[in-house]
């Protein structure tokens, strides 16, 4: 096969896969549709299959052609009212469709699947079919067809992904050339400077547009669920209506590709564990038909995907019992967990409540894998449940993997980056390092955190020298539900980094996820915390004997606090766990729109909150040129709190004293470094300030 043929085949493949994707969805709709709509749908499917058949004939893909032909004949009979649509026939068509899809997916390699059985079954189905009563007249195609977005073929063209990636790279090169030019011409006359600024603007916009070109609607993944839900519901004897919302929300294609499997898993879980059989639903006074809703929406520079069912929900009591039975927790520890924390146990490795293992789910490999996959994508997953009313799984994902916020750290003079999504918190280890079963651990709020010394692991310092020091910082990270600490010398900055794949010749260096270029042009490796933990062969066993540490909670029993100031003589603190990250911004970047202030941020903007507007506080000095934005971890809106200076991070082992007079955004007061400090509640500060519900 020559190159040209290969390219043509690739083109046919892409086109055919698109057709088949539609066909699959139509089949599922056909089953549920009213007779008149059904006829129109059948006609649509017929056309799609016909086109696949035609082109495969041209390429002499005989098996694809003959299978498509057999399916087409059945559809023609259905369309012309010569055969009747039955679930059995539908199964047969869907099964054939799978074979067709499989052969097409293998292209340009020829995969000669055995299709005679399908063809025969299809042919038999035709000859056995009796013409149904003429009560189902053939509807005019078009008029009664369900509403679908009109095809916009003329507005789009197909572009190889390779070309897009190349464009992204070239845009990067352009940025660097621009920077070099700008620094070379820094003393040039004003006119030249203006021209460089113009170039600057165009370059940035070009980069943004190219990034946008990599985006695809989530529908490409969601579409598959029509079929999956239908098949599973039939197998499990459930009545389920699938609702898809926000199918046009877009995500980077690399994320979408990796999202399909975890989402499928969640959908299976919902059908198997969440949604009850119809009798049980009827007994509970619910409609027999359950609703499974998958929705996507974009907010705060992230995409949020929710999978919601109206089944019986997750029973925290059962989770506690199952966790104890499976040896994940001691009974006393399980009892101490709040309902929320208990529900989070479903993410623990090896956890399952299923009394019997079905081939759908319940093998105890599941939610922990889903969670691990999500964190690989830089996403977060959470479960909410209302006992008896339903379960909602919420996933948050970045729009793109190509640019991610990261922490820049230094180890033995070399800079590395750690994606922020891998960072739980930062701790100064001095004086708190112990050895447990031969492993260096950090005592964090009463539980032991295994430590990895990056300098020793990567061969940057001899092990003996490295173990002597207690200087530096520990970046606390999480791998598969286990927390551990990465010991670094210095935390330099937090930056948005452009992720470059790990070079091929370094693919065996498991400690790295990729490489990036820092602002000064240096190449820095991106650490893969999972890989680092693997290289270090961390011994987690025996360390978790103590109950899982409690996260620093709203009462602030024991927690790490970031201390900051707005006016120079007023000190505030906030739990570090509540802060996603801080950004340093020059004041001229802060823009006022109406009554509110914003910071351009990624593709969108971040609403800024001034403390003096929310509580009795002095404004920052008017002459500051630079401010800090604290971005809270929680809260739905893109908002940040402005501060003029970040003073310190401290360990606090006491409660703030309640000070109701300070307002609801203040948890209380305490003395830190001999100064009265108001401890802020990030959750109340942000939503209230942006006008949402508290």
């Amino acid at each position: 096969m020559d190159q040209e043929d290969r390219e043509l085949l690739e083109e046919f493949k892409a086109e055919a896969e698109e057709h088949l994707g539609h066909v699959e969805r139509f089949f599922v709709e056909i089953e549920e549709a009213a007779p008149q709509v059904r006829a129109a749908l059948v006609a649509d499917v017929f056309r799609a299959l016909h086109s696949v058949k035609g082109t495969s004939g041209f390429f002499e893909l005989t098996r694809i052609e003959s299978l498509a032909h057999a399916m087409e004949s059945v559809l023609a009979a259905l369309r012309d009212g010569e055969a009747e649509f039955t679930p059995a026939l539908s199964d047969l068509l869907l099964g054939s469709l799978d074979k067709l899809a499989q052969m097409i997916a293998a292209l340009p390699e020829l995969q000669e699947l055995e299709v005679d059985a399908e063809i025969e079954a299809l042919t038999n189905a035709l000859s056995n079919a009796e013409a149904p009563a003429p009560s189902a007249p053939v509807a005019e195609t078009g008029s009664s067809a369900p509403k679908r977005p009109a095809p916009r073929a003329s507005e789009t063209i197909r572009v190889p992904v390779r070309l897009l990636d190349q464009l992204v790279n070239l845009a990067g090169e352009l940025v660097l050339s621009r920077n070099q030019l700008a620094s070379h011409l820094s003393g040039a006359p004003r006119e030249t400077q203006t021209m460089i600024q113009g170039l600057d603007l165009v370059t940035s916009e070009l980069q943004n547009s190219i990034m946008n070109a990599r985006m695809q609607p989530v529908d490409t993944v969601f579409q598959k669920f029509h079929r999956i839900v239908r098949d599973l519901a039939r197998k499990l004897g459930r009545h389920v209506r699938l609702e898809l919302v926000g199918t046009r929300v877009e995500l980077d294609r690399s994320i979408l590709e990796l999202l399909a499997d975890p989402l499928t898993h969640l959908v299976r879980n919902a059908l198997d564990h969440g949604i009850e059989p119809p009798e049980e639903r009827a007994a509970a006074g619910k409609p027999e038909e359950a609703v499974l809703r998958i929705s996507a929406c974009q907010r705060a520079g992230q995409v949020e995907i929710e999978i919601e069912d109206d089944g019986h929900g997750v029973d925290p009591e059962r989770i506690r019992a199952a966790a104890v039975a499976r040896g994940i927790l001691e009974e006393s520890a399980a009892r101490r967990l709040s309902d929320r924390e208990a529900i989070d146990l479903i993410f623990a490795p090896g956890f399952s409540t299923a009394e019997q293992v079905t081939d759908v789910s319940g093998r105890g490999v599941g939610m922990d894998v889903v969670q691990t996959n999500m964190s690989k994508l830089g996403g977060k997953i959470g479960v909410e449940s209302d006992l008896g009313r339903g379960t909602r799984v919420r996933i948050r994902l970045p729009l793109t993997l190509a640019i991610v916020p990261a922490l820049v750290v230094e180890v033995a003079g070399t800079r590395f980056t750690i994606p922020q999504t891998s960072v739980d918190e930062l701790i100064q280890p001095a004086g708190r390092v112990q050895r447990v079963s031969g492993q260096e651990v950090l005592d964090v709020r009463g539980s032991f955190l295994p430590l990895v010394r990056l300098d020793a692991l990567l061969g940057l310092a001899p092990a003996c020298e490295a173990t002597a020091s207690e200087e530096g910082y520990v970046v606390v990270s999480r791998v598969g539900g286990q927390r551990f600490g990465l010991w670094v010398d210095e935390v330099i900055d937090s930056e948005e980094i452009v992720v470059k794949p790990r070079p091929h010749l370094l693919k065996h260096c498991a400690a790295y996820a990729g490489a990036t270029l820092l602002g000064d042009g240096r190449v820095a490796m991106i650490l893969d915390v999972g890989g680092v933990a693997g290289c270090a062969a961390l011994a987690f066993q025996g360390l978790e004997a103590r109950p899982q540490e409690a996260a620093p909670d709203a009462e602030g029993v024991v927690s790490e606090m970031v201390v900051f100031a707005n006016a120079p003589d007023e000190q505030f603190a906030m739990a570090l766990g509540d802060v996603l990250r801080f950004e340093r911004v020059p004041v001229e970047r802060i823009q006022r729109v109406g009554e509110r202030e914003y910071l351009p941020y990624g593709d969108g903007s971040l609403e800024l909150i001034r403390l003096e507007d929310r509580l009795a506080a002095q404004p920052a000095a008017p002459d500051v040129t630079e401010m800090f934005v604290l971005i809270p971890r929680h809260g739905d809106r893109a908002a940040g709190i402005l501060a003029s200076a970040i003073l310190d991070t401290v360990q606090i082992d006491r409660l703030p004293e309640a000070s109701p007079g300070d307002g609801e955004a203040v948890l209380g007061r305490m003395t830190i470094d001999d100064r009265v400090t108001r401890v802020l509640d990030a959750a109340r500060l942000v939503p209230r300030a942006t006008g949402g519900p508290a």
Binding site: R162, G172, E173, V175, L458, G459, L505, H508, R522, M525
Partner: protein, 186 residues
């Protein structure tokens, strides 16, 4: 600075010559994308020993192979102005050299001590590598060409890249076992 060869006799492939320490080598000029004199190699901790590091080339990352280490050359010879030779990627390659198939899709290159000319020796001028050349080097050479400036080892690029790959794999295995040993006393 793409090498700009003189009009060529199409039957004779052009060779780009360079110096590495005391020795001279050459590779088909059609495989070279560009040559740089201003660059900085950032080493990658934990990388295999034959990988010098990474270079930021106008926003793209170039993996720098330590060719001298792969050829097992003795360090020596005053290093003058050094140059980074960047190979073409497979999709950029348009020539008919058989080695073009071996090119990587990624940017790969190596550092040389001095650039030589682009020459077009006849096929007949190529001799097998003498026995004095070490085994490691000999497997990476298509042969030796006796030029006026001395003998020049002509690289077999497919072998060089395959060898770099093999060594990356081998070092991964040893790293894994070392990590296991070091982790044991923990």
């Amino acid at each position: 600075m793409t090498p700009n060869p003189a009009p060529q006799d199409p039957t004779r492939p052009l060779l780009a010559c360079f110096r590495l320490g005391r020795d001279q080598f050459a590779l088909p000029a059609s495989l070279v994308r560009e040559v740089h004199s201003r660059f900085e190699v950032h080493s990658v901790p934990g990388a295999p020993s034959h990988i010098r590091g990474l270079v930021n080339l106008r926003g793209q990352i170039v993996t720098v192979i330590d060719l001298a280490a792969m050829l097992e050359l003795k360090p020596g010879g005053g290093s003058e102005a050094r140059h980074l030779v960047v190979l073409r990627s497979r999709s950029e390659f348009r020539g008919s050299e058989p080695d073009g198939e071996a090119l990587s899709e990624e940017r790969v290159g190596w550092v040389v001590d001095r650039l030589g000319d682009v020459e077009a020796p006849s096929e007949a001028a190529l001799e097998p590598a003498p026995a004095s050349v070490g085994d490691a080097a000999r497997s990476l050479l298509a042969g030796v060409w006796r030029a006026e400036t001395g003998s020049i080892g002509v690289l077999k690029l497919a072998e060089v890249l395959a060898c770099a790959e093999d060594r990356a794999q081998a070092s991964a295995d040893s790293f894994r076992s070392r990590a296991a040993v070091e982790a044991a006393p923990w």
